[in-house]
Amino acid sequence: MDKQKITVERVKTVAKLARLNLNDAEISQFSAQLSDILQYIEKLNQLDTAGIEPLAHCLPVSNCLRDDIIKPSLGTEKTLSNAPDSDGQFFIVPKILDESGNL
């Protein structure tokens, strides 16, 4: 049995996708724990799901649309009230492009 369902390398890739700056200890711990969990989840392979539709939610409704009417929104002040950094008009973030305009 393939005990290590998810390798350390794969954990690092997933952490990058999830934008989590994990340290080495966390990576090795998650690799072991996620392997255990995925091992358990393998039991789904016993299920024959051929011809079964995926079910995303259980409500007897779809495409809930409202009339296209403009309503009051939060406004700038409230929207920025929890921002870690702002100038009162915009969220402030570190520079994204370098001098030559590259990411």
Binding site: I6, R10, V11, V14, A15, K16, L17, A18, R19, L20, N21, L22, E26, F30, Q33, L34, D36, I37, L38, Y40, I41, K43, L44, N45, L47, T49, I52, E53, P54, L55, A56, H57, C58, L59, P60, V61, C64, R66, L74, K78, T79, S81, N82, A83, P84, D85, F91, V93, P94, K95, I96
Partner: protein, 479 residues
């Protein structure tokens, strides 16, 4: 008279009749909190000044014979994953420790409109991810009946606050059992309404296709009263059900109606995984119903056993997407050690999230990632359809399904923290209900070594009236 012993409904009636002043109820609650909550740890925040002001306002209205709401003057707690314009909304996470919501959740707005006194916000597993409240990034909550044990989770603070008489009712949220299991562990009633019954607007999202707000209360009648207040369509939540499809009812008016000619389904294979005392208590409850006119039928739910695997793919996939919003830019924690914009994301998230939240984001991101999507996420959505099919088949034969709420009574603090999979498996009986979107309630049905055992009753979608009636029947007349 001991005010704290009253149920929510009794207190409501007495305040409305002028027999008790709200200010006395609020004062009794805060005395209780000040006496016991340092040990129990149910509350993340309390609002003493605001509560006394609201109580005074209600008392004055009643003295002047002005109309008041359905919960006028009653001290109520809310789980700290519901947005409120008063206090912080931490979600039990360091990443939101200083977050002050610019708006109220719809359920909170409805409580306030009903003139309830919101006394505080309760502890939870971070982002409602857990079964013991041990994953809170803020504090530890203990079971009020035995301080060495967990209160259950994730609505552990709400359950503990009700059980320890530090409020008269509380709101929780239930994604995989987070209302029912702590209600069971703390010996109170807890209702997970049908998905779509209560607006999720302002409930911090975890697994959006599963999350549902509901009451934790001293008894079933109080569940009906609170549901009356919080249920209903909300244009701000497109998944809250259209009232043409499922009208809001007066559940309090019908809760004491005795159900007639009802059939209960039991699933014998599901009893195998539970402690013998738990099985015995649930079987006693089934006997009780038999004596009260129920026809008991045995059924099989062949896909039930796949519910945990299915849930931990769907819930984590949804969580990994929902929690992408914590970016250190718009609100929440921002790392002071970030050197570029990528590090603003990755370091803020690393510093702000606790281990279980990271684990679930990782699992969900993996299940959705290229090359794994079909094998994990899509497979889980198909399994979900099969699991719902088990419920549909069961409800074609019976009005209710009965099983334990949890396989054990409240476990020891620390007992399962090192093994996440063992913690997940403790939700075996509650999780499938969320996947199927149907309503379920947990009511106390016995004790094992002085620890309460929860009885779980499940009904078809939007049949809360029937569900509350059968639960109430057990509560008022069980031996």
């Amino acid at each position: 008279m001991q005010i704290l012993k009253l149920t929510c409904k009794n207190l409501r009636d007495k305040i409305a009749a002028g027999e008790i002043k709200s200010i006395n109820a609020v004062s009794a609650v805060f005395e209780q909190i000040e006496k016991n909550d340092a040990k129990i740890g149910a509350y993340i925040s309390t609002f003493k000044e605001q509560s006394f002001a609201k109580a005074k306002e209600v008392d004055e209205k009643i003295a002047a014979q002005k109309p008041v709401g359905a919960l006028a003057g009653v001290p109520i707690a809310i789980k700290d994953n519901m947005c409120s314009t008063f206090g912080a909304t931490t979600c039990g996470s360091k990443i939101l420790q200083n977050f002050h919501s610019p708006y109220d959740a719809t359920a909170v707005e409805k409580l306030l409109a009903a003139d309830a006194v919101i006394v505080g916000k309760t502890n939870l597993d971070e982002f409602a991810m857990g079964s013991s409240t041990e994953n809170s990034g803020i504090k530890q909550t203990v079971n009020p009946l035995d301080y060495s044990r967990v209160p259950g989770g994730s609505s552990g603070g709400s359950a503990a606050a009700v059980a320890a008489e530090m409020c008269f009712a509380a709101l929780g949220s239930d994604t995989g059992g987070s209302i029912r299991q702590p209600a069971g562990f703390c010996g109170i009633a807890g209702l997970k309404p049908t998905y779509g019954r209560v607006s999720r607007y302002g409930l911090v999202a975890y697994g959006s296709s599963l999350d549902q707000i509901g009451p934790l209360t001293k008894n079933v009648e109080d569940c009906a009263l609170i549901l009356n207040v919080i249920a209903g369509h909300d244009e701000k939540d497109s998944t809250s059900i259209d009232e043409k499809i499922a009208p809001v009812q007066d559940w309090l008016a019908t809760v004491n109606t005795k159900p007639q000619n009802f059939k209960i389904a039991v699933v014998p294979e599901l009893f195998k995984g539970a402690d013998s005392e738990v099985v015995a208590a649930v079987k006693n409850a089934i006997e009780f119903y038999k004596k009260n006119g129920a026809e008991i039928i045995e059924i099989s739910m062949p896909h039930f056993d796949y519910a945990i695997a299915t849930y931990y793919l769907i819930a984590t996939a949804e969580a990994s997407s929902n929690l992408a919003r914590y970016d250190g830019v718009h609100y929440g924690h921002r790392s002071k050690n970030a050197n570029d914009y990528i590090e603003v994301y990755s370091k803020s998230r690393d510093e702000g999230f606790g281990p279980e939240v990271k684990r679930r984001i990782m699992l969900g991101t993996y299940a959705l990632s290229s090359g794994y999507y079909d094998a994990y996420y899509l497979k889980a959505l198909k399994a979900r359809n099969l699991i719902r099919g088990d419920f549909t088949a069961a409800f074609a034969k019976a009005d209710y399904i009965i099983m334990p709420t949890s396989p054990t009574t409240a476990f020891k603090i620390g007992e399962k923290t090192n093994d996440p999979l063992q913690m997940y498996l403790s939700d075996i009986y509650t999780i499938a209900v969320n996947l199927a979107g149907v309503p379920a309630i947990s009511v106390p049905c016995g004790n094992d070594n002085n620890l309460p055992i929860g009885l779980q009753i499940i009904a078809p979608a939007f049949e809360e009236a029937k569900l509350l009636q059968i639960a109430r029947l057990f509560e008022i007349s069980r031996p």
